[in-house]
């Protein structure tokens, strides 16, 4: 994922759009936090600049 983010950034895609987190099934609280946080970040970043192209 570290390399993935690097390549995305060189291609001009914000690496914050990708995130890898490890959450155990027993960590419901953490899971909710991680997802909420990620959703908030994606909303902050706005629509994907590639969006038009992806909807073929």
């Amino acid at each position: 994922v570290a390399i993935l983010k690097k390549i995305l950034s060189y291609l001009g895609i914000d690496p914050r759009r990708v995130r890898l987190e490890w959450v155990s099934a027993a960590e419901g609280q953490k899971y909710a936090e991680v997802v909420t946080d990620f959703v908030a970040e994606i909303k902050r970043l706005g629509p994907n600049p590639l969006k038009g192209r992806l909807e073929v």
Binding site: I3, Y10, G12
Partner: protein, 275 residues
């Protein structure tokens, strides 16, 4: 230089250290890979930084060394290689694509001028039999320019560059390390038949990502591209990243394993462990 190389190669073949020599041959002012089996043939042996020695042959998708092994089973194969080609051999051996035991590397160092022309960071094999180890090109102009751009500028840059792509697969075919039998870049999911240019940037992204820990910076992808897409720019920077993140450099040592390969050996659930 070339006379010295021919002399050296002849000695190898005559003494029986190797039974065949694989290198470039000059014929009618053209260079092409050739399998030398007779000493006198080596008068036409040539070397050039612009012509690669290593291919995965299509459509059989077998690399050239495999094909030589099929034709000359158990023969010791001498290969005349430059730095980049040696790195390719090492990476392929690491990934069980060739057997180094059958191969004798006859390494030749490139000159500084040749290194500049190829923008090569390491224009010499580990132990050159001929030529001096000269400094390579460590800072790349294209990489510098890319890094100076902001994210949206980079995206715009690649959209204009990659929109030139006509999906000839030249970059993949020329790459010594692209040896997968089933290539993701041919799958309908990522690249629709008849669609040009292929989807930006995922089509090229697949290649950059697959080659992250293999790319040896030979530059064949970029040289092969008929549309002059600066493909090496990203591969060069990724190679630097892999070195910084994992302290790993591809193509230097057969014994050095890629940090991006995971083995299941250290997983807690070993075979029979849960009985």
């Amino acid at each position: 230089m070339i006379e010295k190389l021919q002399k050296l190669a002849k000695e190898y073949l005559r003494s029986g250290k190797v039974e065949v020599i694989f290198g470039l041959r000059e014929k009618d002012n053209h260079l092409a890979p050739y399998i030398f089996t007779r000493v006198e043939e080596l008068d036409s042996l040539a070397i050039s930084p612009l012509y690669p020695l290593f291919y995965t042959c299509r459509p059989s998708k077998k690399n050239i060394i495999r094909l030589i092994e099929e034709k000359y089973p158990d023969a010791k194969i001498g290969v005349i290689v430059k730095g980049c080609e040696e790195r390719a051999f090492i990476e392929l051996a690491k990934r069980n694509q060739i057997n180094m035991e059958n191969i004798e590397i006859l390494g030749v160092a490139c000159s500084r001028e040749e290194a500049i022309e190829c923008r090569c960071p390491r224009p010499y094999p580990n132990h050159p039999l001929l030529g001096e180890k000269v400094e390579g090109v460590l800072e790349d102009k294209n990489v510098g320019e890319l890094l100076n751009k902001g994210l949206s500028e980079r995206l715009a840059f690649w959209q204009s560059q990659l929109s030139k792509c006509m999906k000839c697969y030249g970059c993949r075919n020329a790459c010594p390390l692209c040896f997968c039998q089933d290539c993701a870049m041919e799958q309908e999911l990522w690249s629709k038949i008849g669609e040009i240019p292929p989807e930006i940037p995922i089509f090229h992204f697949i290649r950059f990502y697959h080659l992250a820990d293999r790319c040896i910076e030979c530059g064949e992808c970029e040289k092969a591209c008929p549309m002059d897409i600066p493909l090496l720019t990203i591969s060069k920077q990724v190679r630097k990243d892999v070195k910084e993140l994992f302290n790993y450099e591809s193509g230097l040592d057969v014994k050095q394993e890629s940090p991006l390969l995971t083995t299941l050996d250290e997983m807690p659930m070993k075979e029979g462990a849960n009985k």
